[in-house]
Subunit: 789 residues, 2 copies
């Protein structure tokens, strides 16, 4: 484990949680960073944090239109230019193809590697250590279909070391090896993350949301992050920690997107265009995580993206399909299915079942809201106390606890996705799992002849001993998962929330499903089961309950609705279950929203203090622009530049005295009539350039922003005309504009600042940060967590 | 048929095509219509057309937030208010439930009725004339499964009248009855439309798009339109005209949405909220048309909606599900399937097949582009020439031609959806259709033993005589459908484009599929078929080709992509075919876009001259706000109101002299410093009210817009303070703002007008109409069709 100095050095310099603090965000206010070359500094920029800045969407989009116009103009002149324009038009699609291929391939690799490492915790293959259990036994002829997993080539650690497969000593050896491997994997993961790419930790979705909304976090989507996140994701998943790979896969796909953007000038040089690509990339991430391309696109639309034009919709869809197709070609699950959990249910649901489905929704909502509170409280404690200083130790302890507690219980020992698969499964006659251990049908007076119908073997039966054991183990697993996930999410390893949330819900759902099933079996004469659960008929599918529970819990945590339903629909492929899914997911969302408005990602964004203007949240207070703008009443007056009255020296003085990122240009200080807006950075560079290169520019030279340079008096130095850098179209609102409209304008147009006028006189300025601060104040949010000022 | 005077009276007063002309749109410029009570005038407003006006989204949304704030404030005061606030929060969901139920029920009714009337063209059921053919033969015990349709209860017209079922006389009688019924149905349809609800004609989607973008067309979504459209849709579909019910179902669902809005003050009184509901309703329409709820939501998002917040996404999804579920409960297709065309393919596709799939895409794109051009040219001719004066005659002629030409060919005689179903169908052994008449397998040297595999009966086989007949008939049907659809779409009956477009594509696709299949059978030794189409294997599914062709043609016509793929995906339920679908649909879109940028709906919007600001179209020209604003250089100066310098008389003079819908308020005429904006209508009402009710207001009273009313000189009449009606937050841009940004601002904020300033002085004003005019000018579009000035 790394020594404390290393830890604290890291904490203060790299970690976004520690980052989102004061000093960093004043950097943004300095605004001395060129928005053009941000997000480009691969690794080189590590350690410099003046990149936390907000982009100006209007400007970026204007720039792209200019570029486009230039290409259209040239197109008519030569064949080369025409070809260039065609290649420009198709570069977006090519980029999508590349992202899809790469993300699909990476996801396939991650799946295979994680599967192998997970199995390595239990044993090793004698044919070659690089085979996983299933692969190892694939061609084994000595095993039957039933005992496929007991092939001689695969040796558990106990078999290899002490030579026995059963008994106490074998158990102890296997237990020990399981814990050791788990510790090793998790330690490696956290070490790699902290040593090489601190941004690779967590799920990445809160940061990606923030980046997509127009924030710059340099290096967050860089090469190093990609490499380290891919490797450590495999390790983290294999270590058996209660985390999933879905969120991190979105991050990985976005890294791919960002890296490929560098191949095309169009995307490299334009932050807005790049964000369109990243929106598509996040769709790709979910597409490969679940094999659900449509769900992925809707996830990007509903949950992650900020600016999502129709063009992006089409491209996202294309990229998501390519990725899903690539993944299927790699076939990591060996079943030539696209999806992670393939389920097929054979029994339709009954209208009365909506009641237990809604119950699952309520459970999901409650758990979602409680999980968010507990997790945020825990993360806050981590930041505030000494706990946060030893992240490696933290991971090791949690990993040890997870491994020690998980091994004895079959349902926690298996990986999260295996658990979910098992719980979703609809028992068939051939199934040998404990969950499918049902007793014989003949009970009481039911004639066995009922079996002769199409429902052979699927009729309602009493639970056997296996099911009872499973129920107890599942109940324990539920408690364990609920507790451990709260402390796991937010640790310094790549960690997604989808799988753990779904696991909790699936366990709860399956338990309820089994309960309902047994109720229907023993009480089929009750009114509610009448005409539906007749003896010998199969009426309740516990696997469906598991699926609904999983959807409800995931919905409660993330507050996804449509995209979640579509993802689940793509998993099952049957329209039949959309209504139950919708019932469970909407209930879950309503319940969770009643207990706390934010989903887990918004909560983490706020925890980290990112300047994110939530598009879903309505601003409801009745304040006016004048209440928010600067300068306030007690502040010094607004720093303005006059269009023809200031000298170079005066301007330099203004720049050094203030730290604003730009200045309004007015006709005269008395009239305060707005002419335009000039960015601090542009001003600094232009004056420097002029002083170096332009003849006769001295401190007393006048700086002119007008169209026509006036003739100077004899003997005076020549004036410096800077109209070229003047933004002639700053948006201005009146001081009486309600803040709700102002917030809307900022959100929809993606502004960075807006000028405020009163009766045509320039009065002040509102920046995005002012708005965020104001919104936080109005919502009475814990003022300590607000990092701007 | 109605006499010419009736026709021309209608033409000049009711028809939107004739409508979108000059005189109507100047009404909009007068702006004397209150945006609040528009769209409310059920029937009563028929004949008055000063409703063509654009809403102000900012104002509507502000109003809703005020209402919301009011409710939140009151909530704390009493239990009743609390309950009211809860009911308010849930009223949106309740509304969705109602729309879903009603639309689902209507769609089910339409399906059943259309099915019955369609069968009535061929014969009648002796058990009761209200049974359709299938229903009539449902319980017939005298027919085998194979000859299910030849039950004794069902009599063809020939059987009933001349007593024979076969032979020339029977054919002639059936032919005649078919034509007579078709004529009767279509005449009834056009008569009802023209007599009771002229808005019920066409598909309705162009108008709904325009309404959703913020335009007012009073009565377009009213009770009468709903009733008449529902009835005439059944008649039009049953008449056998080349039209579908999908577009009109969207219109019907939107009518339901609009009508139910009246139950809730929240939606009745707010145009923006109402449009959210209508967006959801259009999703419902597609959901019931195809049984594809997810596709419906995406259709609304991609194709129809203008403002689609996430909340609407959730609600649309809910409503679409409810509707689909209701429709399934009614079970109009008798197969308990949700979807219109249920297909199940058994063979995976091969990568090489992407080549014919792309060919289908190219065909679809070409056909789409050509169809749009031909249809628009035809509609333009209809508007410009005498043809347009006799719509009833037109419908009768087209209907006669359709019936006469369609009857002899099996594939045109059946309804469009039956045709598509048949073409999508994958031949099984039991199938008795001509398309499945394949010869025996044993040909040349292939051992029949190959059949013993799992592909029994599905192996590639030579086409039998039935298939050859079918191919010829399909080729004829293709030509016929292509020609007749061009003249059908746009007639004065409810007519959707989805089914005819899909039918054209399905025929073309099936033909290509059969060709490929036979190629593979006779040349399975070719390199391209090597290792894939081995003898005895089933490798090509003509039904899949039909499906892809249908998707490609529909895509070419409407330019839908994602929603179309999702609809098709919901029809087949298999992720397997998403890649071929995507390939066909994207190719089709690219090809069609290369030949003409607009989809059929945009083309019709432009044809009708609706003020629609296309959200997909980028404005690429480098003009500035100053080039677009009014007044132009040669115009008289901008009419402004000063904040404290004008008398009541002066204001009244200004109002009567000008026809602007609002006036900027400035500090003084010299300074032209902007204070706010006042709407003409508000000004007129306030002055009238003040003159009537307020003591001492006379012509020479000063009108004040300032916060504090100044003390008037002794003896002068008391001033009239109208600050209450002043919009203090008009958006202002500078004269140098590029038009691309201005267009973006209008589009995103949904503005109606925007003020233009130069160096802080008010210079002019830009309205949405100015922008549309400018865009049309810049695009060099046929200036005759542009209706604004």
């Amino acid at each position: 484990m790394s020594p404390p100095p290393f830890e604290s050095w890291f904490l203060s310099r790299f970690l976004p949680h520690a980052l989102g603090s004061f000093s960093l965000l004043t950097g943004a206010q300095n605004g001395s960073v060129d928005v053009l070359d941000l997000l480009q500094g691969w690794g080189s920029g590590v350690g410099t944090y003046d990149d936390f800045n907000t982009i100006d969407w209007v400007r970026e989009k204007s720039k792209d239109r200019d570029r486009h116009r230039e290409i259209s103009r040239k197109r008519r002149q030569s064949i080369t230019a025409l070809l260039l324009s065609v290649s420009d038009a198709f570069s977006g699609w090519l980029l999508m193809l590349l992202i899809g291929l790469m993300s699909g391939a990476l996801a396939g690799g991650i799946d295979i590697a994680a599967h192998w490492l997970t199995d390595l915790k239990e044993g090793v293959c004698l044919n070659g250590f690089w085979f996983n259990h299933e692969h190892c036994c694939w061609n084994s002829k000595e095993t039957t279909f039933q005992e496929r997993h007991r092939c001689p080539q695969w040796k558990s650690w106990a078999e290899l070391t002490v030579g026995v497969t059963e008994g106490a000593s074998a158990y102890v050896v296997n237990y020990l090896m399981y814990v050791i491997w788990a510790l090793l994997f998790s330690f490696l993961a956290v070490f790699l993350v902290r040593a090489f790419a601190p941004y690779a930790c967590g799920s990445g979705i809160p940061e990606i949301k923030t980046i997509l909304s127009g924030f710059i976090i340099r290096g967050y989507l860089g090469k190093w992050t990609l490499v380290i996140k891919t490797i450590t994701l495999v390790l983290a998943v294999a270590s058996g920690l209660s985390l999933g790979k879905e969120g991190p896969l979105v991050h990985v796909a976005c890294c791919c997107g960002n890296i490929f953007c560098h191949l095309f000038t169009k995307y490299r040089k334009n932050e807005a265009k790049r964000r369109e690509v990243l929106s598509a990339a996040s769709a790709v991430g979910v597409s490969v995580a679940f094999g659900a391309p449509i769900g992925g696109v809707l996830f990007s639309l509903e949950e992650v993206s900020y600016y999502f034009p129709l063009k992006t919709l089409w491209r996202s869809f294309f990229a998501a399909l390519v990725a899903a197709f690539t993944l299927r070609s790699i076939n990591p699950f060996g079943n030539s299915r696209l999806v992670l959990f393939y389920v097929e249910f054979h029994t339709p649901w009954h209208l009365l079942e909506l009641f237990p489905f809604v119950l699952l929704g309520i459970f999901g909502g409650l758990w979602g809201a409680l999980f968010i509170r507990a997790n945020i409280a825990w993360c806050r404690r981590r930041k505030a106390t000494r706990l946060g200083r030893y992240p490696v130790l933290e991971v090791a302890v949690v990993s040890l606890a997870t491994a020690v507690l998980a091994f004895p219980n079959d349902y926690t020992r298996m990986s999260g996705s295996e658990l979910i698969s098992e719980l979703f499964n609809d028992c068939s006659l051939l199934d040998s799992s404990k969950l499918c251990d049902y007793g014989p049908l003949a009970k009481g007076g039911e004639p066995a002849g009922n079996l002769s119908e199409g429902t052979v073997g699927q009729a309602e039966r009493p639970a056997g001993p296996g099911v009872y054991t499973a129920v107890w183990q599942l109940a324990m697993a539920l408690l364990f998962k609920m507790a451990i996930t709260v402390v796991t999410f937010g640790m310094k390893v790549p960690s997604g929330l989808f799988i753990p949330s779904m696991a909790v819900g699936a366990v709860a759902g399956r338990l309820l499903g089994i309960g309902m099933e047994q109720l229907a079996y023993y009480h089929h004469d009750w009114d509610m089961f009448h005409g539906w659960c007749s003896p010998g008929a199969h009426c309740i599918t516990p696997g469906l309950y598991a699926m609904l529970g999983a959807a409800a819990c995931l919905g409660g945590v993330t507050r996804m609705t449509v995209s979640l339903v579509v993802i689940m629909f793509e998993l099952t492929g049957g329209l039949e279950y959309i209504v139950p899914l919708m019932a469970a997911v909407m209930t879950s969302k309503w319940v969770a929203d009643a207990l706390g408005r934010e989903g887990i990602y918004e909560a983490h964004i706020r925890l980290n203090g990112y300047p994110f203007l939530e598009p879903k949240e309505e601003f409801v207070h009745k304040t006016l622009a004048t209440d928010v703008m600067r300068p306030r009443r007690s502040d010094p007056p607004l720093s303005v530049v006059t269009q023809d009255g200031m000298t170079v020296e005066e301007l330099e003085g203004l720049i050094s005295d203030t730290s604003y990122s730009g200045f309004p240009v007015v006709v005269s200080p008395e009239s305060h009539r707005l002419v335009g807006f000039v960015l601090r950075r542009d001003l600094v560079i232009s004056i420097d350039n002029a002083r170096r290169c332009q003849e006769g520019i001295v401190g007393v030279s006048r700086v002119i922003f007008t169209e026509h340079t006036p003739v100077e008096a004899q003997g005076a130095p020549p004036p410096l005309n800077l109209r070229a850098i003047l933004d002639l179209s700053p948006l201005a609102i009146t001081d009486h504009t309600p803040m709700e409209i102002t917030v809307d304008i900022f959100r929809k147009l993606g502004l960075r600042q807006c000028l405020v006028t009163q009766n045509g006189r320039l009065l002040g300025i509102i920046t995005k940060k002012d708005i965020l601060k104001h919104m936080a104040q109005m919502a009475n949010r814990d003022p300590d967590s607000i990092l701007f000022n």
